[in-house]
Point group: C2
Amino acid sequence: MSQARLSDHVYAQIVDIIKSDDLEVGARLPAEARLAEMFGVSRAIVREALMRLASDGITEARRGAGSFVKSRPSDRLSMFMPSTELPTTLGSYEVRFVLETEAARLAATRRTVQEMAYVEEGMEMLRAALLSSEPAHVEDMELHRRIAEATGNPAFLIAFDALHGDVDKIMRAGVDISRSRPPDVIATMLREHEQIVAAIRAQDPEGAALAMRWHLWEGRRRLMP
Amino acid sequence: MSQARLSDHVYAQIVDIIKSDDLEVGARLPAEARLAEMFGVSRAIVREALMRLASDGITEARRGAGSFVKSRPSDRLSMFMPSTELPTTLGSYEVRFVLETEAARLAATRRTVQEMAYVEEGMEMLRAALLSSEPAHVEDMELHRRIAEATGNPAFLIAFDALHGDVDKIMRAGVDISRSRPPDVIATMLREHEQIVAAIRAQDPEGAALAMRWHLWEGRRRLMP
DNA sequence: CTCTATAATCTGTCTAACAGATTTTAAGCC
DNA sequence: GGCTTAAAATCTGTTAGACAGATTATAGAG
């Protein structure tokens, strides 16, 4: 889906209304039918956008009453979301340093045999993808998710998945750039992942945390030519 | 909205299909019309659920082709989401220890005058709410968001907002429980927030990080009577 | 076997109607 | 004037059907 859907536009426009009208938490939004009229779309499209706003915690719908502001989107968030041109690498790396380092540490401590097998499988998939000429960013993402999952705490995966968009772009760029460099760059990337997995396998929390932190640091450095 | 909507049920059921059919990334889901028939709902409801699945990065819709698995929801995530009875406090607290501690540290380092004013305003709103008999969990959430915002890095807010559902429940419970205790418990909660804000105001990163960590630790303890 | 055209299938959007919930308004009573 | 009650208006949640544009599958011709 290369073209944005109308409901994406409506989502952004409703966020704009909340901000431009300076609506406080608890304030009532215009009715669905009214919004549809304002934006020149059908009510079904408005509902789709509102459903996502509600799911994102920004609004809350009460049957018979209307939709209400539940929490205000931040100014920076709204600036961040519609624009894909902003340099986002520094942003998510900073969060990933603390989040994924801790996740690796906990994964090394808590992983079950099954979770370890899942991580190992993800490692194999990533290896195969990196050594092929196919895209490998999905496999890269998947391994990181499996490590977060091996913490045994779904909140780590939730927080990590919230950064999915940025992390996906970073990983795609990371793989592409590494492929445009001498072959040992890919081998280095692969080894970094292996070192993380090995520390988790060995149930070495400090080793896993350090390996993850190193990988993220090096991954970031690889993006700056 | 105390009752779950049909689209919430359909969301969970589609996740179940992905898991029970062991659909890999790239696998095609049944068509919207087919899903509507399977679940005994209208197609509009299926679309609403699919829109959220796509927004959550789990599926991807291609016009004319169908909806495809984009990333697999983790087993734990799907167990976590439909059930509200699981003890979720340990989960998000663990992530919040690393995420919000780092956010407080960075907020103390980087906050602008305007961001500080925003944080102070949030503090006043929380004080007023806690000293009234009205709900205060929204204000509690808002202050924490403003601190994440003051890091100057939207990724912190994105990750924090991903835990919105759990954190909201925790904060609501935290306020309710504190109100059922002697009055000094509310005062303590208030002072903890003030200490975080004071350290950020004073541009004391280590102080802010410690105060936040202490607050989260105490907040967690208050939930265990 | 390959290419082209057509048919079938699919998502995206619109319209209209109805059900159930909430809010507003109006009327009646004290 | 204030309070209560009932009716009307308004709202979200859902269903159903139609059509547009995109993709996939199939059939026929060379």
